[in-house]
């Protein structure tokens, strides 16, 4: 197994501990479309890609398109990309789309008409997968978007086999809607709401029409999708789609993943169980990404000639420290707080995180809503309850903290994060 610290582990790099999720995804798709949610870096795309690869290997009849919506900035592009990827797939799988040459021309002409006969449409449709769109988009008009949606429905109606359409980084696209206009910020926000509503309604139509042909749609994104839609007052427009949540790795899974990554690199340790005990204690439950960058830090030490033979406990500690100091590691949360919280909120957030880290690090107690209120009011007596509740909700939606299993208190998602915040805000210690 190779270290994949960032990209999408699939095939031989896919962690088999997640196989059950792949099977669950397959089962859910038998009966419905799927909305796949999970915090950042928990492996949503990896699970989806592994599902697609497994099904493609198992059946010659399996057809799919995978669209990463990260770069999609408006609804025109959204529909055009799906249409384009389906046409590209029909190059790969001949006969996928039951279109004659005239049918293709008609589609191309109709799309061209929507965009005032721009020639680039034909080039774009005929290009290879991933070709960037170069046309100049007109101002947003709901009628044009609806016309595009109709063309997509017509295209899907001409596909007789089951097609799986994956729309990854869906929430990322929603955040960009409305931003490419030159209008003032308030109007951009209003446009985002309008366009998101149109998007979800159009997606629902496509899904319903597609269901008649047994097509399936997988929409993937972070848990912030729910908060985003609630914020836009559109929370009910995705409630008819089956949800799968991709969880963090359990402690045992973290240990197992690290063990597999280490074996793949030929790592050895100065004593049996050294690595297992260390990962169990210092990572606990966490995202696969942090295990991957930890393995990468150990690899870096090997390549630099700092470790000739087996890793000692000191080496494991050094690598752990490197993860905490790494800008790709939990350090990015510091920047996030600086960017998205006011100065006042930053102080409050640090107080809460510091207190929680102190308690969770030493396992001396728990932190609940009331405790947070006491901490904040002891510094600023003007703070009221609802401000505390709002702040805690914001921190949870940013994955800074989460509710404990029984829902009564707060905790960090992983021991790694607890250690990080302890190191940053409380004391120089970072190892329990």
């Amino acid at each position: 197994m190779r270290i994949v610290a960032g990209a999408i582990p699939t095939g031989r790099d896919f962690y088999e501990g997640r196989r059950a999720l792949v099977d669950h995804l397959k089962d859910c798709l038998q009966g419905s479309d799927v909305l796949m949610l999970g915090p950042r870096r928990t492996g949503k795309t990896s699970v989806i890609k592994e599902y697609l690869a497994t099904e493609e290997a198992a059946s010659e009849e399996f057809r799919y398109v995978f669209i990463d919506l990260e770069s999609t900035k408006n609804l025109y592009e959204f529909y055009l990309r799906i249409i384009k990827e389906i046409l590209s797939a029909s190059n790969k799988w001949a006969g996928l789309v039951r279109f004659s040459v005239d049918g293709m021309k008609t589609l191309s002409n109709k799309l061209g008409e929507i965009f005032d006969n721009g020639i680039e449409i034909k080039d774009y449709l005929g290009g290879v997968s991933g070709t960037a769109l170069r046309i100049k988009f007109p101002k947003f008009e709901p009628e044009k978007v609806e016309a595009l949606s109709k063309e997509l429905q017509r295209l899907l109606a001409n596909i007789d086999r089951q097609l799986v359409i994956v729309l990854d980084e869906f929430p990322e696209m929603i955040w960009k809607l409305g931003l490419d206009s030159e209008d003032p910020k308030e109007q951009q926000l209003e446009q985002r709401k309008q366009q998101t509503e149109l998007l979800l309604a159009g997606l629902r139509t496509v899904r319903q029409e597609g269901a008649a042909k047994n097509h399936r749609v997988i929409v993937a994104g972070s848990v912030n999708l729910d908060n985003t839609l609630i914020h836009l007052q559109l929370g009910n427009l995705l409630n008819d789609i089956k949800r799968i949540t991709v969880p963090y790795l359990t402690t045992d899974q973290s240990v197992e993943l690290m063990s597999l990554l280490g074996s793949g690199q030929g790592f050895t340790y100065s004593s049996e169980n050294l690595m297992r005990d260390f990962v169990r204690r210092q990572f606990g439950r966490c995202t696969p990404f942090y295990i991957q960058i930890y393995a990468e830090a150990l690899l870096q030490m090997k390549l630099a000639g700092q470790v000739a033979g087996a890793f000692t406990e000191d080496d494991l500690k050094k690598a752990y420290r490197a993860v905490l100091d790494n800008a790709r590691g939990p350090r990015y949360l510091l920047d996030r707080i600086k960017k998205y919280y006011s100065k006042e909120e930053q102080t409050q957030v640090h107080l809460i995180l510091g207190s929680l880290a102190k308690q969770q690090f030493k396992q001396t107690g728990r932190l609940c809503d009331n405790d947070c209120e006491k901490i904040l009011t002891s510094v600023d007596s003007s703070i009221v309850r609802h401000q505390v509740v709002e702040l805690l909700a914001k921190m949870r939606s940013d994955d800074l903290i989460q509710h404990s299993n029984d829902g009564s208190c707060f905790e960090f998602e992983s021991q790694l994060l607890c250690n990080f915040w302890h190191y940053q805000l409380v004391a120089a210690e970072f190892l329990v």
Binding site: A5, L303, A304, R328, Y332
Partner: protein, 368 residues
């Protein structure tokens, strides 16, 4: 003898692309300051891939004169061209372009995607106005490239290099956040640099004498002159070999040889230094000129030391911020090396020195 870290890194990456493993490896970034051997590793990998035709992987070294706008389109064209070249040379008729996998080799990818800064990244014109719109466009291009890589990850891999500033992959709001595997290269330590340098020189009597003389002079001369950068070590070694060949072992005194060596070495290194100095403001350049006249600070690496003495010269503590910035660019120590080391040598070894003003109005030292 190639330094261990660089050798290991090249070997590791070559193994990833040896074709013995199924599927392409994840995208890698080689990160490190300039002169740490990143290009060398990329070239090694390219040769390893090209010599292993059985793997069906085509190495595509993307030209550096790229613009983020149209990047995906340009890269696709270049991939098609390289595949065509590969198939032309292939003896196996059964190979088809669609079967081939690709590893993209892109150097200095940070220059394409780092946002902001006078000298960093590209500021693209867009129909909306202002620096914010330009940055939005730049992030868009990064998004497109990322989407392209993800959608084609089964047949397109990527090895990129970047300098020390990799903010484009450390900012969570940017598309390449947490996208790459990162391997870091660093400058060589004094012992590593000395070993590497001596290995480059061989056993010639003159070279050994030069190295020993400079080692007696100061223990960290090699780091002071080259910063442990492999490219500079190569230049220094080439300079020594050049002098040995031209001047011969006995015709010049060692002090004179040192002076010739430094002149020639800095002549080679100057284009790099000029670029760094060019980026400084007028005030910074002026401060540099002043610092260059204080030979005792050649071996001082502390900003405090340098800046406190500069303030004596300039009569003000306002210069401290400027000096700190100039030191960070490395330009100070380089310029100091050029002028000050020569002056220092004169102080230590040769006849008394006189300070004179040259025709451009700068103070300089001349031997009597």
């Amino acid at each position: 003898m190639t330094p261990v870290m660089i050798q290991n890194t090249a070997a590791y990456l070559s193994l990833q692309y040896s074709g013995k493993q199924s599927g392409l490896p994840p995208p890698f970034i080689l990160k490190g300051p300039e002169g740490t051997g990143k290009s060398w590793v990329v070239t090694k990998l390219q040769k390893a891939v090209e010599s292993n035709r059985a793997s069906g992987i085509v190495a595509v070294r993307v030209p550096m004169q790229l613009n983020p706008e149209g990047l995906v389109h340009n890269i696709q064209q270049y991939i098609s061209f390289c595949k065509f070249q590969y198939l032309k040379r292939s003896t196996e008729i059964s190979n088809m372009a669609s079967d081939l996998k690709v590893v993209l080799l892109i150097e200095n990818i940070d220059r394409l995607f780092n946002l902001g800064g006078r000298d960093r990244g590209f500021v693209l014109p867009t129909r909306a106005k202002g620096a914010g719109a330009a940055k939005f466009a730049q992030v868009q291009h990064a998004s497109e490239f990322r989407s392209f890589l993800i959608e084609n990850n089964r047949h397109i891999g990527l090895i990129a290099t970047a300098g020390e500033d990799t903010s484009f992959m450390e900012d969570p709001d940017q598309p390449f956040f947490q996208f790459f595997n990162v391997l870091e290269l660093r400058h060589l330590s004094e012992p590593e640099a000395t070993l590497y340098f001596k290995d480059k020189l061989g056993d010639d009597h003159l070279q050994v004498s030069l190295v020993e003389f400079l080692s007696n002079f100061t223990s960290s001369w090699i780091t002071n002159l080259t910063d442990g950068k492999i490219s500079y070590l190569n230049l220094l070694a080439a300079t020594v070999n050049e002098i040995a060949e031209e001047e011969g072992a006995n015709s010049l005194k060692l002090e004179k040889l040192i002076e010739t060596l430094l002149d020639l070495y800095f002549y080679k290194v100057v284009p790099n230094l000029e670029l760094q100095i060019e980026r400084l403001s007028y005030q910074e350049k002026h401060a540099l000129d002043r610092i260059a006249l204080l030979p005792d600070h050649f071996f001082s690496k502390d900003v405090e030391d340098i800046s406190s003495n500069v303030s004596l010269v300039m009569g003000s503590l306002r210069s401290k911020g400027i000096i700190e910035q100039a030191v960070e660019t490395g330009a100070v120590r380089y310029k100091m090396r050029s002028t000050c080391l020569k002056a220092y040598l004169r102080f230590q070894k040769m006849a008394p020195v006189t300070q004179v003003m040259n025709p451009t109005g700068q103070m300089t030292y001349v031997g009597s």
